[in-house]
């Protein structure tokens, strides 16, 4: 362990003692969740510092109705569905994109919005639909791609808009007030785009500490130290311990792209329901690239597994092991809820990296020939 990490860990312990009660911090971003588990940080925290995972995994919060629409679209003749890899296994009402691909639907895993557009250029006789998922991190690339499609007249390209915005979800959680929180470890990647100042309403309206941090163990621990200092000193502020990457104002070019192409819209979050102005729609000038409109598809209703508690997990209300399905029927091999599917889902992190879950899991998995 490096001296710096040792020092940060020591300070966390001292601060926790000084605060003298249980402190609950939400890490909003799925990448933070995974990093906290993967780097073993979770095992290094003082007992009365509790981290809860927030609604920041884009796969986990995509509504089932959007997955169902993607599956229906992918089954259409002449359609190629272009999707980021981790959407493949998310269960819809009836199967997943992965299962549909196995039975003949044309689904292509892509790594950028741009490659979906290139796919459209290469397949002029087919309709290529981009399953546009993700927060402010991926939305600017979708916007740039729509502009490029418009400029170059790529008419066989469209977008199934599932983008979500982080801030409205954080504010909705605070507004509901179901989860006692002392502060937020704010997402590094999203903050690059929206800027640290974006969290001011959390501080000003709800009096919660906000610290933007990177993803290295040292950066996460430094973020937590800054949060606990605020709590110990009974002050709240937006602090940025990732200043080399995140500015106060964010990435103005990316924000301008979002404004040029999209308009905030009410959207449905998996298990959270509709959150006002938390999604993005295409502006009328670009609505011909809207896949739902082009293919006249109506979004259905979500019908989650009755036992699945992903909704509560996403809101930080319960830990995954409070769910009766966790590590029983619901495992990464047979995911029932979205938090188990995504690489960055809270349930998957618990299952993969936490000792008790692993012990349960042992009996159910078998080795495969190498």
């Amino acid at each position: 362990m490096s001296e710096k990490i040792e020092a940060l860990r020591g300070e966390l312990g001292t601060l926790c003692e000084r605060i003298g009660r249980r402190v609950q911090i939400m890490e909003v971003c799925g990448t933070h969740t995974m990093s906290i588990f993967r780097t073993g940080i979770r095992s290094m925290l003082p007992a009365n510092l509790r981290l809860v995972s927030g609604p920041g995994c884009p796969v986990c919060v995509t509504a089932q109705r959007h997955i169902d629409a993607a599956i229906r679209l992918a089954a259409r003749d002449g359609v190629i569905m272009a999707t980021y890899g981790d959407m493949m296994q998310v269960p819809g009402r009836d199967g997943s994109l992965e299962k549909r691909r196995a039975t003949g639907a044309r689904i292509q895993v892509i790594n950028s919005a741009r490659s979906a557009l290139n796919l459209a250029r290469e397949n002029v006789n087919r309709q290529v639909v981009l399953l546009a998922v993700g927060f402010e991190t991926t939305a600017p690339a979708t916007a740039a791609t729509v502009l490029e499609a418009e400029r170059d007249g790529v008419e066989n390209f469209s977008v199934l808009m599932c983008h979500k915005l982080v801030m409205p979800a954080m504010l909705a959680l605070l507004e509901a007030g179901d989860v006692p929180l002392d502060g937020f470890l704010c997402p590094g990647h999203v903050s690059v785009i929206i800027g640290a100042d974006a969290y001011r309403p959390v501080v000003e309206r709800y009096g919660k500490a906000c610290v933007v941090a990177g993803f290295e163990p040292e950066q996460i621990l430094a973020g937590l130290v800054h949060l606990l200092r605020q709590i110990a000193e009974q002050r709240v502020a937006v602090e940025n311990v990732y200043p080399a990457v995140v500015g106060a104002q964010g990435n103005l070019v990316a924000l301008e792209l979002l404004n040029r192409v999209f308009v905030p819209a009410d959207t449905f979050w998996r298990a959270l329901g509709v959150i006002p102005r938390s999604g993005l729609d295409l502006l009328p000038a670009y609505s011909r690239f809207d896949a739902l409109r082009r293919f006249e598809i109506e979004l259905g209703e979500d019908e989650d597994h009755p036992g699945c508690r992903c909704g509560e997990v996403i809101q930080g209300k319960v830990d995954p092991d409070a769910c009766a399905l966790f590590a029983q029927e619901c495992t990464p091999l047979t995911p029932i809820g979205p938090c188990m599917v995504s690489n960055e889902g809270t349930c998957a992190a618990w299952y993969k990296y936490n000792r008790p879950a692993a012990a349960t899991a042992r009996s159910s998995s078998r080795r495969v020939k190498q």
């Binding site: 993967r38 980021y84 091999l333 080795r367």
Partner: protein
């Protein structure tokens, strides 16, 4: 009819018809690079000499997109994979078969490159390809993004002689034994994935595909007490460690800072959101050896180009429940499990 431009030549269905075209494909494109005494008669099978001791027999099939990647290609994978399966069983490879399934439209120039790579890798391993088969299948309805160069599948089987006195069995693994890996992890999987995703890094990621039989022969020659070997292919070293823990009902404690990984691979796995422990290798072996023999094994490995970054990454313990546990570089602890299904790069 002979196409006017030889670079346009490609595999056609009639190459698989068993007639003159097929015969020419074999005589002109397969036999010259692969030629050896046992293959040359093109009989229905190869007659092998009487082999001493117990015989190890293995088979594996290879499907990879793209067919060529930095550090290797499907041909090198196929030979190294089968040779390594024999070698980690404690066998000295003797002979291999080569089954090719070609899709019509496959450029012959590409086939030539891959066959040359097969021949080169077999030579490197000192193994002869003694029998083979070639089939041509109809061009598949091109999947989205698929290209003509996707159309080649390989099956290889291999026969080897078990080294006298060698018995590699999980039952021999004891608490206190050391776990060694012969070099940097995750290079193959990340090289292929970054090529597929079009992500480029400052330093090129290269597949580690290589036959390990000579390296392992040197390890055996030291007389070191080797308990168990497995090549860490799909599932990465996480998969192998989980297999060992499960098969022995013992725990393994691994130290992240001791696991060899290149800075580029570390960076790439962070970008793609992957745990490098679960990423495929094609030239890495996980060895469980008696603690007293660690230095012997490491020094012999480090003298070989395929083992120069060899390291002892952890130990077998009897702590319960039986799990693989990682002491992270940050000083924390977490468990290690084999990955589930296909590891997919993350969204953001």
């Amino acid at each position: 009819m002979t196409p006017t431009n030889p670079t346009d030549e490609c595999v056609m269905l009639s190459h698989g018809g068993g007639g003159e075209l097929m015969s020419r494909l074999i005589r002109e494109h397969l036999l010259p690079p692969l030629r050896n005494e046992r293959l040359a008669p093109l009989a229905d099978g190869a007659v092998l000499p009487r082999l001493e001791g117990e015989i190890v027999f293995t088979t594996d099939s290879y499907v990879v997109t793209p067919l060529e990647f930095p550090g290797g290609d499907i041909g090198r994978l196929a030979v190294a994979g089968t040779v390594n399966d024999l070698a980690v069983m404690g066998a000295e490879p003797v002979a291999m078969s080569l089954g090719l399934i070609l899709e019509e439209g496959l450029p012959l120039a590409l086939l030539d490159r891959i066959v040359a790579s097969i021949a080169g890798t077999a030579k490197e391993a000192g193994v002869e390809i003694v029998t083979g088969d070639t089939k041509v299948i109809e061009r598949r309805a091109a999947g989205a993004g698929a290209s003509a160069s996707d159309g080649l599948f390989i099956n290889t089987s291999g026969v080897g002689c078990l080294r006298p006195g060698v018995s590699l069995d999980l039952a021999g693994v004891r608490p206190g034994d050391a776990v060694i890996v012969n070099g940097t992890i995750a290079d193959h999987g990340l090289a292929v994935m970054s090529l597929r995703s079009g992500i480029e890094f400052d330093t090129e990621l290269r597949s580690d595909a290589a036959p390990l039989n000579h390296l392992l022969a040197r390890v055996f020659e030291t007389g070191a007490n080797v308990r168990f070997l497995r090549d860490a292919t799909r599932g990465g070293i996480a998969g192998v460690l989980a297999d060992i823990s499960e098969g022995t009902d013992l725990s393994i404690e691994v130290e992240e800072r001791r696991i060899p990984i290149s800075p580029t691979a570390r960076h790439a796995s962070e970008m793609l959101g992957l745990d490098p422990l679960t990423v495929a290798n094609e030239g890495k072996v996980v060895c469980v050896v008696a603690e007293s023999d660690v230095d012997t094994v490491l020094s012999v490995m480090r003298r070989d180009p395929l083992g120069k970054s060899a390291a002892c990454i952890g130990h077998v313990t009897d702590s319960e429940p039986a799990l693989v546990e990682l002491i992270t570089s940050a000083g924390g602890r977490r468990i290690v499990q084999r990955p589930y299904g296909e590891e997919l790069p993350r969204i953001c």
